[in-house]
Symmetry: C2
Subunit: 218 residues, 2 copies
DNA sequence: CATGCAATGATTGTCAACAATCAAACTCTT
DNA sequence: AAGAGTTTGATTGTTGACAATCATTGCATG
């Protein structure tokens, strides 16, 4: 019947809800409400929730309940530090190994970003952006980097969803991605790492800046 | 009463058991046996197990059960790739921030290694080794790097426990750690990163080599 | 009027019984 | 004797009920 455990399915649904802010940061997760909503009993739901606790997306207060984490500026910086480490390593691996299929996919993701930019569609631009970073880590072939990245992306999306498609300097954004792929294609490991780090710094800067404008929604 | 959830406690006990090979790779986890052993019901135990599934220490086969992961050579390489990414980032942060307390702790860990080496105590050497890497990541102050690292260390210990204190070239091992701290103290970010990566490469080499001698125990 | 205390309601944490699924042993057939 | 089908035992997956804990509300008191 299932080719996947129910805990795994529910965990993914919870992850999506957190990402899209259906479950808002700081909100308490009602077990009865959620189990009813997902059509399962409390048992499997609690198992799924424990997965997210391990991921760090939920915080547990014993005998109180589980709450969606709240991200302050220090957290956001930490997310980008971790992403730089993970994606830097992934990009480096691809640059060293010279995988043509990876480059093709990365180019495709960049093209999708450019197209969304021309169309002025911030939602599609965002999707293409995340697709790029997903492809990057997947193509590295490292299962552990991929697992770590998954959680980091959820946290990143949590932040960006709050801004609702308010993209700062989208032209620069696209350009940074293209330059990363260029460095990878050239097989220049040092340049690749440098450009990934630069991209993270800039992305962080744009995010913090956008938040200052939006004032307070974290 | 509890200042920590039971799932969290059981998860840690499971982690230790996997690390020490009390639960051997490939072994199926019997829910009834483990719940009796830990003195809890199956409910909380299953919650704890789901945490380890998320970590990647257990693999789930729906309607079959949960099994301890088995690490082949590709996995071991992947572990060291991920560790290089995480610890490289951590060391870099410390080198940039120049935290005196961190240097003191790292030196202390190095001294403990040297002492264990002189005494010819491989168990203590191993402990000091792991302590060094833990301190390194903790001192970076990155909660996300720390979380990722925790799992990677369990997997590393899984491998090393199999070799039972067979340390290859322990003198080089200690020296590599000292050189990393030297680079951090000098505030040389590039050198720091290079030496962390070198250390991981060498550690991986020694591990694979030791395994070839031991023949097969993975 | 503020403060401390007790009762109350709701929520989480835990458990044991039930249903579903799978692997292995056994039997029957060819 | 070999193989397919069936039965059986054991394990996981799920559920609903019970116990424990905490926050809130109302009340009595200084």
């Amino acid at each position: 019947m299932h080719r996947e455990s129910t805990a795994s399915v529910i965990a993914r649904q919870l992850r999506t809800a957190i990402m899209e802010r259906t479950l808002q940061p700081g909100a308490q997760l009602s077990e009865t409400a959620l189990s009813a909503q997902f059509g399962v009993s409390r048992g499997p739901l609690r198992e799924a929730m424990q997965r997210l606790v391990q991921e760090g997306l939920l915080r547990s207060e014993p005998n109180r309940g589980l709450f969606v984490i709240e991200l302050d500026e220090a957290d956001i910086r930490d997310i980008y530090v971790a992403r730089a480490a993970v994606e830097g390593a992934a990009a480096t691996m691809i640059a060293k190994a010279r995988i043509p299929a990876a480059l093709r996919e990365l180019r495709a993701a960049c093209d999708a970003m450019s197209k969304s930019l021309e169309l002025g569609d911030p939602a599609k631009l965002s999707d293409a952006d995340f697709r790029f970073h997903d492809v990057l880590v997947q193509c590295s072939g490292s299962r552990r980097l991929a697992r770590m990245h998954q959680t980091l992306i959820v946290e990143t999306r949590m932040c960006l969803t709050a801004l609702e498609g308010t993209y700062q300097q989208p032209l620069e954004l696209v350009e940074e991605h293209i330059q990363i792929v260029d460095a990878i294609e050239a097989g220049d490991v040092k340049l690749t790492l440098k450009r990934v780090e630069l991209h993270m710094d800039e992305a962080l800067r744009r995010l913090i800046h956008a938040e200052d404008n939006d004032e307070g929604y974290v």
